[in-house]
Amino acid sequence: MLSRKIMLMQGNEACVEGALAAGMRFFAGYPITPSTEIAEIAAERLPKVGGKFIQMEDELASMGAVVGASLAGLKAMTATSGPGFSLKQENIGFACLTEVPCVVVNVQRGGPSTGLPTLPAQGDVMQTRWGTHGDHPIIVISPSSVREVYDMTIRAFNLSEKYRVPCILLMDEVVAHMRERVELPDKSSIDIINRKKVASTLSDYKPYMDYDSDGIPPMANFGDGIPFHVTGLIHDISGFPSTNPKVTEDLINRLMNKINNNIGDIIEYEKLYMEDAETVIVTFGCTARSVLSAIRVLRQEGLKIGMLRLKTIWPFAHIAIKELMQSSVNTLIVAEMNYGQLLETVKASAEGAFRIYGLNKYNGELITPQEVIDKVREVAEYA
């Protein structure tokens, strides 16, 4: 008999389960609703599997501790919400430049500042991309259901380890606190990716040398017996500071290209009801749930509506927008719980190919299926 593991689970709980399945062995955090359950569950579960949990004095420190633990060889994660996510930016940038794998969960709540604790919002879309200063690579993925939180947390670790880049799991209050019946996959069926290690035979290790010509240098751990230097200054392939323009340019290019050259692997999206769609609603996270309910109603009325749900938020899925250009689609509605952050990116990507409208809400309430229906009818009149 196949043992099926079905349970009622909260999004934040699924996040920790996924993280443990991915091999997380370190968590540092600072409490903030609506992410706190992640820290609480990690505190209980990690020591049971030989992992470590620590509650730091603030988010600056918890992000620093996560990077430190990852450099010492553990898969590490932290979780927070808006105000804490702002504080983490400094050391997220450090991890981007020094290429230290780590997972940062941001359970969004209404902002700016202390904002609306702890009502739902999706207002951190741009902050996840450009929250820390300077040109930098980053991967951001966003789940819409509890089961997807589990899968995407594993994916966040895998992407982070594979590309040596921080991966942000962008959740929202709804997905984090929602309870759903989920069936977890059998552990043996889960693909786990671990960072590329340095061959112990390698002499004169250069921590930032592109040995495999894939843009991703193999990593040693502190304590492995190969001493190396890590700095948040621009550095050469040996890891030491440099202000040489060529060295700087080469480094930034490699950092950006290791993501840009692999978008096929990194970008995921879901298209539903697209066969004959003329209007497509672009959305992500919890809003996709309302959009889907609305589409089911509108389809019964014979309206040709489809959905493009972004699972990878950054790098942006330009490819998905380009695909729409080859179809019957003429109108896009970008539905998001913010003032129009993704809307601008979609517009830029579409290069004038569609009529594009925003469905935006930023008052702490969800976008309801009825509001989606009303918007579709409203834009139909402009046609």
């Binding site: 620093g64 060889g73 030491f240």
Partner: protein, 275 residues
Amino acid sequence: MRKELEKYFRKDKLPHIWCPGCGHGIITGAVIRAIDNLKLEQNKICIVSGIGCSSRAPGYLNFNTLHTTHGRALAFATGIKMANPELKIIVLTGDGDCSAIGGNHFIHAARRNIDITTVVFNNSIYGMTSGQYSPMTPKGAFATTAPYGNIDRNFDLCKLAQAAGATYVARGTVYHVPQLIKLMEKALKHKGFSLIDVVDICPTYFGRRNKMGSPVVMMEKIREMSITARTAAKLPPEELSEKIVIGEFYEEQAPEYTEEYAKVMKKAQGGKLNE
């Protein structure tokens, strides 16, 4: 440099960036001599720093080295120590790095009594950004951001560390090098959070602004002002205001953080605690 110390340096990264007469090299040398005297295993040492002239020291040292963000060295170091308690962690930090932007991490690392040795290169100024006042700049001293004299009161880092929970606390100076090495050896041998506050000189900014004279004169001044903790204990407080009190202030054996966490792991796994 003594031949047997060469292995501790990344010779291809020298010469260093420090100004002639800067005290940072003396402190770095003392750290290395203490490590050598104790015959600590080079591969098992991890040296972590923040940002500042002083925080550049790890780049010259042949160990696992991490140059982090301004003030955050102890946060990164805490993660490393938790992940791999076998590593000996040394944090090299400036007075600004440690006591201003990193002040919160400093008191919490001390409170946890995590096994990290913190060495503060205390030159009473922000050297790297060219001479602004730090929380360690004495009242009345001049700095580029205190052109009329500093009105801030400065910390006593040793008292701060002790109050926060550090279990080994000492102060040395760049003039009293043999003593400094001894203090560092004790700090490195100590299990728990240890602090060495090292009175240092920045001739380029603090010295010049305050018309202190040459580096040699600044060193002389340190010698004149220094008294031992033992002598200081016999003097009334008003006679101490112009003094640098050096030596050991506090030592205590107390539960170390990563060892306590090891017990948590045992408990969580249902194992018995042997206490």
